[in-house]
Symmetry: C2
Subunit: 327 residues, 2 copies
């Protein structure tokens, strides 16, 4: 864990300068600011937030808008945003839009009145123009709103390719892909990755649309598992959907992974709670939240961005819902 001396050394400046920078007290040149910020980023330095808050006697709000607080992906993302924001002296206001555009507008308008420093938005209920007209620093997280808005997301296409290839390598010959809602960036990208991976391969595929909700996914999976004969693989676009598919398989007496293999996407802790544990394409949720927060704070503090669109790599986490390829 880096301390203030490490930051000073890395930045090639004095400890006093770093302290002035952190406490926003006294003069520091733009050049020094930049060096310190880079060192903080590199070392992932987190100052003692309570001490900082007591010294600066002021804290700014960052609004974090999520579409569904009961989908565990978003609380896990929120924790990362909160950790990093606090370390820079910002406080996170978590807003649950419940996938309703009116609620989202309400939060945005309310927080703007309260002089919010910036927003991190993980929804795309509204038209891009609404966000562009905001005149408040803004970062899109998890899904792109518009090319003009800095964005942190996972590499969803590559991730879906990786997951699909794993199902193919594990012997699946008839795969149902449970795609998320049309028009939702990550959902579309994951479908694209799946289609790319199965192209030209000797495999039967079915595409079924399903919202990212457990109950709905369970119902939909039960339906297609009953109607389509010989399904031996399911790739669900989120872990919550995959949990629904697994529950459907159990209730139909289909053995997982012997008769049916299931792949999720997200890497939330729910996957490990299920039996068998869910094989999934895991996003680096903490890193996504942390990066988005760092970018937002740079915009707020008028520091130039090195990158405006960041795709965070994903990785395959093998658990019990697929047959091990490595025998």
């Amino acid at each position: 864990m880096a301390n203030i001396r490490d930051v000073a050394k890395e930045a090639g400046v004095s400890v006093a300068s770093v302290s002035r920078y952190l406490n926003k007290k006294g003069y520091i040149s733009e050049d020094t600011k930049l060096k310190i910020r880079k060192a903080i980023d590199k070392l992932e330095y987190i100052p003692n937030q309570v001490a900082r808050s007591l010294t600066t006697k002021q804290t700014n709000f960052i609004g974090l808008i999520v579409p569904d607080i009961t989908n565990p992906f978003f609380p896990e993302l929120a924790r990362a945003v909160e950790d990093i924001a606090l370390s820079y002296g910002y406080t996170v206001v978590l807003c649950n839009s419940d996938e309703k555009s009116e609620k989202e507008i309400h939060y945005i308008d309310t927080l703007k009145q309260k002089y919010v420093a910036g927003f991190i938005v993980t929804t795309n209920q509204l038209r891009a123009s609404h966000y562009e007209d905001l005149n408040v620093p803004l970062v899109a997280l998890d899904r792109m709103i518009h090319e003009s808005i800095p964005t942190v997301s996972s590499n969803n296409v590559d991730g879906a390719c990786m997951g699909t290839n794993h199902l193919l390598d594990s012997g699946c010959e008839k795969i149902v892909f449970m795609r998320g809602p049309k028009g939702l960036g990550p959902a579309d990208d994951r479908l694209a990755g799946f289609l790319k991976a199965v192209e030209g391969k000797n495999v039967q595929t079915h595409i079924v649309e399903s919202p990212f909700h457990f109950g709905e996914s369970e119902k939909i999976a039960k339906k297609f598992l009953t109607e389509i004969e010989g399904v031996d693989g399911i790739f669900a676009s989120t872990d919550v959907s995959a949990a629904g598919a697994l529950k459907a398989a159990h209730s139909l007496g289909i053995s997982v992974p012997d008769q049916l293999q299931i792949m999720g996407f997200d890497g939330i802790s729910l996957g490990g709670m299920l039996t068998p544990g869910l094989t999934t394409v895991a996003q680096d949720i903490y890193k996504m939240g942390a990066l988005a927060t760092r970018i937002l704070i740079k915009i707020i503090e008028e520091i130039e961005l090195d990158e405006r669109v960041i795709q965070v790599p994903v990785e395959l986490v093998e658990r019990g819902t697929t047959r091990s390829v490595h025998r």
Copy 2:
């Protein structure tokens, strides 16, 4: 769904009065205010929040402090608080204390600077005196802080009795009770309920302490299931702990509910995602959040409280981790 006319009728006042009340514009007598508020409570009327927000052009913050945003109980509670708060023109700032008192103090201090209207606190990291010195309207939710602070919680003692009796009725003769952290109100109350129910009964019991975290609970359950012979029942103090116990049983090849029955406590949606589905003592999470919010808003708006301590009833939800008693 009640509308503004229903409220006026129930309150015995004009629609115009209700509108003035909702928009905080124009004179209304205290007596009329009280009638309207009672009618709104009774009918659970939710005004169109966007319309209201546009009219009133101001919104107040309510700080909701939760100990662990990644435990699904708290997002579910937060949704209820948010729904009701929005309906009265308040915006919820969700603060995750991560069970750290310094983070909790930071949030409280920061929000106080930002003129927060009141707090709903679901933690008890700090000493009661800290909360009493706040001089901001405050409601304790889920756990009592001090008798002087209005509190909404479940009837944890009765709930634990009910769950225990169900395990006994289902034939359990050797039950491990996984108690939560000592000093935590709901954890202590649930243990008290368990002890009350087993007193004088022909059953062997073991009390094991476990935090309300999946991974830790799984590890602890694995340990006692290996060390203590013939355990045929587990009562975990939260659903997340119960999920850990179920996972432990699966990994040890113990059949649930045939060899081992498991009872949870909370009623979060996770319980239904597991296989077998988790039998649990379900709290009325939405009602708890809604009641706490209504009470807080009454305090903020200086309306007298009918009750200062409310215990919300719980109910048994039978799923697959216990053997059905009704054969």
